[in-house]
Each structure stands twice: as C-alpha cells, then as structure tokens.
C-alpha cells in the first residue's frame, strides 16, 4: 500500500549561542492511510521538532531544514509554496498540541475560532459553519455545546479545552493528524476519555502521528512505533513486536524503567547516566555511554538502521548480520 506521508532523510538544525545543534539527524519514516504511528523518546530527542518540521512550522531563524523531503499525498511539503502549504495545514494535516490554552486564541470565543477554520478551507455560510461546529463540539462530548460556542477558552477546564482542540483538528476530515503530547497535561482519567474519543473519531479513515514520551500511551493508541534517541531513530517496529522483543538496548532500558504498578518500595531498573548534549554528541553510537552492552565498535562507528525482523529495524551493532566481524 502506498504511503500517505513519507519522510526521507530529514535533518533540522538550530543555531544557538554555543553552536549549531542538529536536532533531527537523518530521520526517515512513512505512514500509510489509516495507520497510527507513535514517535517516542525523552525530552530533547528531536521528536517534536520532527513533527513541526513536517509542516514547516519551525521558526527560521534560528531553525533550518537542512535536507530531506516530506512527501504527502503526491507533493513534497518542503518544496511547495506557502499558499499551497496553507491549504494543506489545518485541512489535510491538522495538529493537536500539548497545551490547548496556548494553542487557542485567548481573545476569541470558541465558536469564532472553529468557524474561522471552517471558512478558511470551505465555502460555507456563517450559519451552516456554526451548525457544523456545534455538531462537532457535541461529537467530542462537550455538554451544552450551543452555549459553549460563546465561551472563551479560559472558561473551560483543561480537558474541555483539549476536546475543543480535537474537534478543531478533526472536523475538516484531515488525512493526517499530528498530535504532540496531547494528553500530557491532563489527568489519567481525562486522558483515557480523550484517547477513546480520538480512536472513535478517526474510525480508521485518518492517519495519526502521535508524539509522546509515554510508552503506555503508545501502546494504547498506535499500530507502529519509532523510538528516537539523541536526534536519531534507534528502533522502529510494529507495536506488538516492539513490546515483545525490543532490539535496541535503549528501547529495552526505556521499557524497564517505566514504573509498573507495584505493592510498595521497589528499586526500579534505570538507565545510568544522561542524554549527551546535542552540541557534543560522541563519535560512534550516541547511546554508548549509557549502554550495558557497549563494545569497541560502538565507540568508533555509527550503527545504521538495519533490519532485524519483519518490519523491524534497529540501529545497533548487536543486531548487525556481520556482528562477529
């Protein structure tokens, strides 16, 4: 099946006072129609920058897309002009951000923000647009939707604000939704409701790129997972494979470090050390200093992503076919 979105060798740099940081370094992946892909990693690994880069939402300067291509439904999003891009954003690709309050305009009523988005992409009378927006507020479970149209974002709870964001993201039937930590600021009970709703709304028609640091969330929402570490992809596999047989030592460490429900004091398996600074990545594998299985080759050579199973790739010399060499 043809990919809806295919990202090839994307690299994004930022100029800082201390030097140039390569926040995304040669990232490639694809999403098929109806597929949901999770992009996981810890803060600073480049997952959010990757997502922003896809729709050219990186402020430039200081940011710069150095290389790569982003093919979406037959076009290269990095090459098309701004007008074409604006027709794609919000309409064919929509985004849900972590902080609904900073993503919504504080000065405009909910209704105006929703109908504005409809009017931008579709010819529709004001009245029809309003009715359409109300119907979506109802769909995402906002009680008393008609009167909530006249509310300002700050008058709603965090969960309700995120529901508005989701209505806004899904109401124009996009082909792809990019969600960047959509529930991190919410309580677990609200999170469970939001996920159930996103799943229902998407109904296998829409593709999802979900950016998160939470493996539990990926497990609930995604068919396929990409694990990023220090600006690069270190492993990618379908969800069952990744959880059953993680190949990269980082992925294994990450899974082991998640606190599982326990019955009292319990030392967790941690990953020693810390993520290297993007200004000073070591030569060779970037996980070498924290890796329990490190050996000489890791310190001199860069492991590339290699196939280690069906649709399963990892960037580690342990899974290299020639690892004895």
């Amino acid at each position: 099946m043809k990919a809806l979105l295919s990202v090839d060798n994307l690299a994004i740099e930022f100029a800082t006072d201390e030097g140039v940081i390569r926040a995304v370094d040669g990232v490639s992946f694809a999403i098929r129609a109806g597929q949901s892909l999770g992009l996981v990693g810890e803060s600073g690994c480049g997952k959010s920058v990757t997502a922003l880069g896809l729709t050219r939402l990186i402020a430039s300067p200081p940011g710069r897309i150095v290389s790569g291509s982003v093919h979406f439904d037959g076009r290269d999003l990095l090459q098309i002009n701004t007008r074409e891009l604006r027709a794609v954003r919000g309409n064919e690709i929509s985004m849900i951000f972590q902080e609904p309050l900073s993503a919504l305009s504080p000065l405009h009523r909910i209704g105006r923000q929703l109908t504005e988005a409809i009017g931008f992409h579709h010819r529709m009378s004001k009245k029809a647009a309003r009715e359409y927006a109300v119907s979506w507020l109802q769909k995402v479970g906002i009680p008393d939707a008609q009167s909530r149209m006249d509310a300002y974002p700050f008058q709603l709870s965090g969960g309700m604000q995120q529901r508005v964001m989701i209505a806004m993201a899904l109401m124009l039937s996009p082909k792809l939704v990019i969600a960047d930590e959509p529930t991190t600021a919410l309580d677990v009970t609200t999170q469970a409701q939001i996920f159930a709703m996103i799943r229902e709304m998407m109904q296998n028609q829409t593709s999802l790129l979900l950016i998160t640091h939470d493996m539990g969330v990926v497990w609930e929402m995604c068919d396929r997972v990409i694990v990023m570490y220090a600006s690069r992809i270190v492993e990618t596999a379908d969800i069952e494979t990744l959880f059953a047989a993680p190949a990269h030592p980082y992925t294994r460490g990450l899974m082991a470090a998640i606190p599982k429900l326990a019955g009292g004091r319990n030392h967790l398996t941690d990953i020693p050390g810390q993520v290297p600074s993007p200004l000073d990545y070591p030569a060779g594998c970037r996980f070498q200093d924290r890796c329990p299985d490190v050996f000489d080759r890791c310190r001199t050579q860069d492991p590339a992503l290699v196939t280690c199973g069906k649709d399963h790739l990892a960037a580690c010399f342990l899974v290299y076919p020639d690892k004895e060499a």
């Binding site: 309580d187 677990v188 009970t189 539990g216 470090a257 998640i258 009292g264 004091r265 030392h267 967790l268």
Partner: protein
Amino acid sequence: MREKTVANPDGKWDPANDFLLEVSDLKTWFETKKGLFSGKPQRIRAVDGVRFCLEQNQTLGLVGESGCGKTTLGRTLLGLETASAGDVRFRGRPLLYLSRKQMDQMRRHLQVVFQDPLSSLNPRMNVMDIITEGLERFGMLEGTKQEHASRLMAEVGLDKAMIYRFPHEFSGGQRQRINIARAVSLRPDLVICDEAVSALDVSIQAQVINLLLTLQEAHHLSYLFISHDLGVVSNIADQVAVMYLGRIVEAGTTAQIIGDPCHPYTQMLIAALPVAGQKRAESAQVKGETPSPADPPPGCHFHPRCPKAMEVCRHTSPDQTRLRDRTVCCHLYA
C-alpha cells in the same frame, strides 16, 4: 495500620512508639470573591477534614487528580498555607499555628522537594552554597563547606567537580538531585515530595526514585510522597491515601490499595492507567470530570461520576469505614 500511642502533649517524642506525623481533621479553606460586584465570597474547601498518621522510616503516597487538594495539604504541613481547622502533631509537638521562629526551628526536621527543579533553586547561588545554606544556618557544618558539600554531592550521585556550577548548568535530573541534597542535608525526619519526579523523563525518573529509596534506607527518612502518578507512587510508598475533592476516600497499605482497590474512585484511577503490553478491559469506562472544588456536589463528592452510585450517595456524605485493614469512605461498605 499499627496502633500507636498518641504522643503526649509535653513534647516527649519516642520514635519507636509514637507516630512521626499525626494529622487530625485538617481543613484548609480559601475564601475567594466571586466577581467584582457580587459581595458574597465563595469558599473553596481545598483540604476538608483530612486524617492520617505516618511512622518514622515510612512513606505515605498521596495520590489524586489535579485540584484534589493534595498539594495544598503538603503546603499546609509546611506552613506555606494557613490551616483553617484541625490539628497536626509532628515529632509529638503541634505543627500548626506556629510563630515564624518556632517554624524556623521545625524546618530542620521537615524538608521539601518540589516538582520544578529549576524554579526551586536560587539561580545566583552555586551548588555548594545551595546545599550548605541550611547547614550553616543551623550550625551543622562538619568540616569546611567544600568538604561537606562534596560529601552530600557524592551521596546524591553528583560529580564533585561541579561544586561551583550554577543551577542552569545542570540537566533536569541533576537539578532534582541538588534539591534532594539540600533537603536531606539537615538529616530531617520527614521530606515532603510534591510531584518530585513528575517533570523528569522516564529513565531519569527511575534514577531519582531509586535515589530517594536509597537515602531513606540510609537515614531512616519518612516521605510524604505527593503525586498524580499511581505507577510511581506504588513503587515508593508503604501506605497510599487517595484524595478526591479535599477528602481522603481510601487509605491503606500500597499492596492493598493497588491489588484490591475498594472505593469506586480508586478503581477508576487504576483502570485509567495505560499499561504497556496489556490490553485494557473494555469495561474500564471513565466518565465525567472532576467537579470544581468551589462547588462540590452534595453527599458523596464522587457520586456524579460513580458507576455504583445509590440514592443515599446523592445527599449523605459517607463516613470513614474500616474494611479489611484499610479505611474507605463509601456507602457501599457502610
């Protein structure tokens, strides 16, 4: 929970027999003006009649969703909010309504680690000054400042070479280690951890949890560990108390609460946790949102969201019931 003698009022405190911390019927209410012209003030019952005890070298995990009052409870114990009613005994002595001077003395034994490691460190002080400030204040320095600071840094897993660095030069996990070093420097009895690991990445979070456990074993610390994350709490706490809209709805040992939750709210919280590698039960339906603490529903605060709500729940607030070695506030068990 083991029965202990209630500490005697003269202030003689025996760690082996008395509770370290006893909170009885604590209330912290806030008055807010509703609008500019409506004169009638609104009362927010952030903490509304909370009762629990904590022994030395034990950890109580306080869990609940945002707005449930868990942070206000911690801040009240620290003297950062004023209690409206109730009694708190710490080391056998009253902890509430202390004068500034009395509270200053108490702070030696009662420390805190907050969620945001950067904003709780003075940006103009280097690590050495930060972690020895309390020691100097109480005349507890052993050796030179450098020596004592180096020992503390080694204890919390920081490189001694970084002793003259400033907070902004550290990563989030390292900053939280600095906060922990400062908190344990005075060898306190109780450390209140308010979402202390919530802002950290998973791999770093596990490191910091392990550090807290190691320090507890080494110094017989007690923790009041406040967090919204049941997964984290279940790995660090001996006892768990679940809070909902200002009240503790269920409390018991961690194994009991996690393994066999009784209160429908606790059951809902546990069911809502996404567990990697495990398919969620279809029945794990969560409904509704936490009501505003300014306008809690009558009767049991949880009844509008409760799948097992009965008629009595709508008008009568449930009392605490003892049930199989735990306490639970629910009409199902009355």
